[in-house]
Amino acid sequence: MESSQYNESLFDLESERRVLSAMLHAEAACIEAYNSLRAADFFSPLHATVFELTSSLYEREINPTFVELIKEGRSLGIFTNQRDIEELSYIAEHYIEEENISYWLKRVKDKARLRSFEVFLRRNYQLLNEEIEQDVEQTLMLAEEELTNLTALEIDDRIDSPADLAKLGYDEVEKRFLRYKEIKELYKGVIPLDGLPTGFESLNKVTLGYKPGDLIILGAQTGHGKTSFALHTAATIAVKGQFNLLYLNTEMSREQIALRWGSILSGIEHERVRSGDINESELSIINKAYSDLSESGFYSYPCPNLSPEKTVSIARKFKTQKKIDMMIIDYVGRMEKQDPKLQEWQILEQIVKTQKMLAQNLKIVVMCLVQLNPDGSLQGAKRMKNECDLMLKLSPISKEEMEESEEFKKYNIMPNYAIFIDKNRDGQSGIRIPINFDLKRQIMMDVKRVSI
């Protein structure tokens, strides 16, 4: 593409260079650009190539430095002439501060949109000149549709026509009908999930699993098993299920998290694992447990100074590089507050809104752990409930209830904890699921009803 053919308002080579330069200098800028641009947004073919190569290096977890970029290009038979090297050097030299990246990204994106608009105008002008007899109504309708798409696509929005929605609805029902039939015939009634397994059979049945785009809130009082629930979920999804999961912890150290796993996966009491009071054969069981962890999809990121903005950048990075299916934030109450003037509930609302958008944009499941007040209520509960797809509350069953309830005696193991489904966008809510929480081993498990 010769730039002389184009009006200068349709491209901005300097902005393209600055975006690429930022990608070569700062990881945060690289993530931003990777997520918001495509190679086709660059006017210069060389810049488009540089963008593609830099993105590809980043996807493979290779730090995209100037030299790595040259080596990558040369291995593909490009950047072999001195003119390309000159241009690459110019790009690398024109460094911008990473906090300015949004400004330059917008400039590149805007020019790309203008070029699409220019192509639209040219084509329609040509159409007018070529076709003498034409259906005016249809020509205008087509142009309008194309122009609307040009702007609508940019804001990543979609309006379903009645026909679109009807087709989508029928396809979904048909898919479920066929699946139900197959289950009845093949799997003898065990329902396959729509999303990731929850780690509890009853919760699987009610939710059909945690689905991409879902925001799940789990509330519990201090010391009532938030982290154990998170790690039980992680064990189900990342260790047994081999899906990739990112676990952000704001309170615990790397060592504490690692030790917890030793107990959870080996079934040996946590206190004994922690103090080292174990025998030789238990040590070998623990060794096997850590070998399972090492082959799992569990990525841990202890981060005491976590902020909502940081979760966005970390999640994007792990989605790009590790293709994570889920992120767990343990827990939101300890996130850093950007604006000290905001009330606690306003901050929580801001956090959950960000996490819901993140889940939808990255098509991952996000689980946020929140702290319940001593009376079991939740700060800013109404707003949180509005944003999330599934709200769960975890609490111990009182001693009195355990002793008096005839219902609990019908289970194979005596339940001592319960998960209350406070909200479920896709199904039943208001349900209380009894479970057993082995505090010594930090293990949660299903309880099964064995008598009527």
Partner: protein
């Protein structure tokens, strides 16, 4: 970015450009040199390895020894610490062998 970092960055870019422009080097030699430069500029180079290279560069070695060292350096993956360590040992052995040979 501080002024010093900017200066270092400029040296890094200019040096890379200069190495890429050396027509006397083949692609393999070129890639080794820019990879080494990358490691040094980003402070990720193995110190022992750099000491070995400096010793080699000080000169005075037999031609066959120089060629063996060069042949073992060119395919070296600088991101592989075990391979770097192994190559360091090889270079040291060769240079010692060269000295011993001369003393004999």
């Amino acid at each position: 970015m501080s002024d010093i970092d900017k200066k270092i960055e400029q040296i890094y870019i200019s040096s890379t450009k200069m190495i890429c422009g050396l027509n006397s080097l083949n692609m393999e030699e070129n890639n080794f040199l820019i990879s080494l430069l990358d490691k040094i500029m980003h402070r990720k180079a193995d110190e022992l390895f750099i000491t070995c290279l400096k010793k080699w560069q000080a000169g005075g070695w037999r031609q066959d020894i120089k060629e063996i060292i060069k042949a073992s350096l060119l395919p070296l993956d600088l991101d592989d610490p075990a391979a770097v360590k192994e190559t360091c040992m090889l270079i040291s052995d060769l240079l010692n062998y060269n000295n011993d040979g001369e003393n004999d």
